[in-house]
Symmetry: C2
Subunit: 207 residues, 2 copies
């Protein structure tokens, strides 16, 4: 259906549907719906959209320090002297950083890996921004006393956390990981067994 | 969150997220995910996407006859002498036409309304492509013997079907509507009452 738009559709619409379908989370039905919406939106709105895409492509680069997406390097966070310079939090993706920033629970620095280790998919340490992380930690003047691993609680996220932990073990830096347990508002009844056993083994003293 | 991208995001990413969020079916999370994907996709892929959008905006127009979106008017269907010239099927949106074409069940002509009557939202007959439909049917040389109403089975779709029916009643043209009933593969147990009662009243003789 995507390569041949079929009767009733035009080549240009078929092409747009196929391009939209390549974006993450956009299935063929959504792609079609969005393409028809674009075809009928005011020309200036479509222009605003293409300008926004072009402008992101023109402006966005990796921060030389934390590898977050930024339009100035070092980024706002790395160049902010108010942030705790001795804590570094490792996340998989920029949007994980954004999610953590929204909590305001962390005021240190970050490192964005842009991926996770996944031997099955042929993704090794050199394929994500791990060498840059180790580079930062190996500098003589590095200020870090704690490295907080905030990879996802998945097989790959765990493997990446293990890899970083083994690599840095004994280097003197404190290595921590985000707590796993019941989500806030979650009930025991509906928690899966692994979450429940993690919540159990990670239980803490009531004060 | 959308107007203020917040810490860790840039203004250009915030702008793109906000533009993507305006597209149908794209929530704030999807918009963010797609924006970060675009920020990291190869420049030539982003260019292909913006070109596809621009090309749709440059090329697409309404067919002067059926009002379908096309890049040449009259469209492929209206100008195809192989199609039954005496049947006209009225649909709400271009994508309904595409869905019907995919079934290959109908070989006549179409009329696309680009909307439905919705008094609550202030949408009357002049706001959708109804005058053009009546214009086609009033022409002396119009070939139509059957008008098939294929609006959705919703309140607005029904109201629009009623309106067309009342307006054309007595004009000599046969007016039909798509059958309502159990979806193929559907079970009685999970059908809603209205569907079930429609399926019942529309029952047909086994031959």
């Amino acid at each position: 259906m995507l390569n041949d738009p079929g009767p009733g559709t035009t080549r240009s619409l078929g092409q747009l549907i196929s391009e939209l379908h390549r974006l993450p989370g956009i299935g063929p039905k959504s792609a079609q719906r969005i393409a028809y919406h674009i075809a009928q939106m005011p020309a200036e709105d479509a222009r605003t959209l293409t300008d926004a895409i072009t402008s992101v492509k023109d402006l966005i680069l990796f921060c030389a320090e934390c590898r977050n997406l930024t339009d100035a390097s070092p980024c706002d966070i790395c160049s902010n002297p108010q942030r705790n310079q001795d804590q570094i939090c490792v996340v998989e993706e920029s949007r994980d950083l954004v999610a953590l920033e929204r909590t305001r629970a962390f005021r240190g620095l970050y490192h964005v890996l842009h991926g996770v280790l996944s031997p099955l998919n042929g993704i090794g340490p050199e394929d994500i921004h791990l060498p840059q992380l180790f580079g930062r930690l190996q500098r003589e003047d590095n200020p870090f006393r704690e490295l907080i691993i905030a990879t996802n609680s998945t097989l790959e996220g765990d493997a990446t956390a293990d890899f970083i932990h083994r690599r840095l073990n004994g280097s003197g830096i404190r290595i921590t990981r985000l707590a796993r347990g019941l989500p806030v508002g979650g009930t025991l009844e509906f928690a899966d067994e692994l979450t429940l056993s993690r919540a159990f083994s990670g239980r803490s003293e009531l004060e």
